[in-house]
């Protein structure tokens, strides 16, 4: 391959075609940057880290959602690269989509550690500890970079804009599986709705396009099993986990260091 043709679907559905010289190791993002620097400074696309970490450069590459920085032109096995904005999101301009509604879905599942004891959480002076096997139950789902590719690939999200989406459900399950978290009940109620886990039809496209192998399809089915257990067996979840028996310290006086927590000693985390 000596030349690459890049066909970009721009705002309003207009196509713009650019031709550039192929370099070994050229990524789709490299091609876009070269086009913007040398051929068309008006071309809009979003990018940042250039190494598949920030998740900014998500777009539709030859019909499939992918990260532009993570996709080599040579792996596409064609000399024409067709670029579109990510599906299921509103276009701001050219390849830039409005990702804020997607972030709102992420926020809706409360993707952070929830603790009943606010004083203990806010004045913590040491970390919560876990066993390695406990970490293994959710670590895969923790690698999500919130790029939105799974949402763009999801056929259910294409039909139902109120669907929580694979990314958000995965993050909800990531915290449900975390032994430090106490928000199991709140999250499972968010998922147990007609726009929650029940809307997923196991197409697996989310896992197919995920650039970090977070495997949202697996997390969704695991979350659904938890929802079913709660519905059918009346399971109450992991409230009362071993790690939440931390004694809350008294509110520290101004200018003083808070007292240490009474963590159970020995036999935890290799001690």
């Amino acid at each position: 391959m000596e030349k690459v043709n890049v066909d970009v679907v721009r705002t309003g559905g207009k196509h713009a075609c650019y031709e550039l010289k192929y370099r070994k190791g050229m990524t789709v993002l490299d091609a876009l940057i070269e086009i913007r620097e040398k051929q068309d400074s008006t071309l809009a696309f979003r990018h940042s880290c250039r190494m598949g970490i920030c998740g900014s450069c998500g777009m539709t590459i030859n019909g499939l959602p992918g990260l532009a920085c993570h996709t080599q032109v040579s792996e596409l096995k064609t000399d024409t690269v067709r670029l579109e904005p990510m599906h299921n999101m509103a276009v701001v301009r050219d390849l830039v989509v409005d990702i804020l509604p997607f972030f709102d879905l992420h926020r809706s599942v409360k993707p952070y550690l929830m603790r009943k004891n606010i004083a203990e959480r806010d004045s913590s002076d040491r970390e919560y500890r876990m066993l390695q096997e406990e970490v293994g139950k959710f670590l895969q789902f923790d690698y999500c970079i919130i790029c939105g590719l799974c949402y763009a690939a999801c056929p259910t999200a294409a039909l139902d804009p109120a669907y929580t989406g694979p990314q958000a459900i995965t993050q909800a399950f990531r915290y449900m599986a975390d032994p430090r978290d106490e928000g199991w009940k709140e999250r499972i109620e968010l998922l147990d709705t007609s726009h929650g886990v029940w809307r997923c039809h196991a197409a697996g496209a989310c896992s197919f396009v995920c650039p970090k192998d977070v495997d949202p399809a697996k997390a969704i089915q695991m979350a659904r099993v938890e929802v079913l257990k709660r519905r059918v067996l009346g399971k109450k979840g992991k409230e009362g986990s071993r790690l939440i028996t931390v004694t809350a310290p008294a509110a520290p006086k101004e200018g003083t260091k808070p007292p240490p927590f009474d963590f159970p000693q020995g036999g935890r985390g290799g001690e």
Binding site: A158, A203, D213
Partner: protein
Amino acid sequence: MTEAKRYKAGLISSLNPLGFNVERWSYAIHRATGVILVGYLMAHIFETLQLSGGAGAWANTMNALHSLGPLEMVGLWIVAGSALYHGANGIRLILNEVFGKLMGKPILPVYPYSPTSLGRDQRIAVWTVTLVVLALWIWAGLYLLAGLGVV
């Protein structure tokens, strides 16, 4: 998320599996066969409802159906295939969605990535469903052709 202005959201995009994994193809076929079965159910209810008009009305309806000739059999063959695929794939989906089977367990991702939920077990299940349904559908076709006296 607002429906207005979402790029390529909608039914066509939802049912287009081109370039995706076999499970996504399976999803599209499952939805399409579901629609065919609902259509058949409605037609079947309408057909049976004609009985309330007496034996004459029923005979007229059946005569109208038989007048379609081979098209009636083709229709029945499509309905048989839809029922077979929807049923067999439904069993796979129940294993996935209700029992969490064929999905694997959480792992530490190692590059090059290969999601376990789309792994060997899932592929075996998808292709088993496809092959069994194809075999039964061919058998159903032969059965219907025998009814026409062709074979």
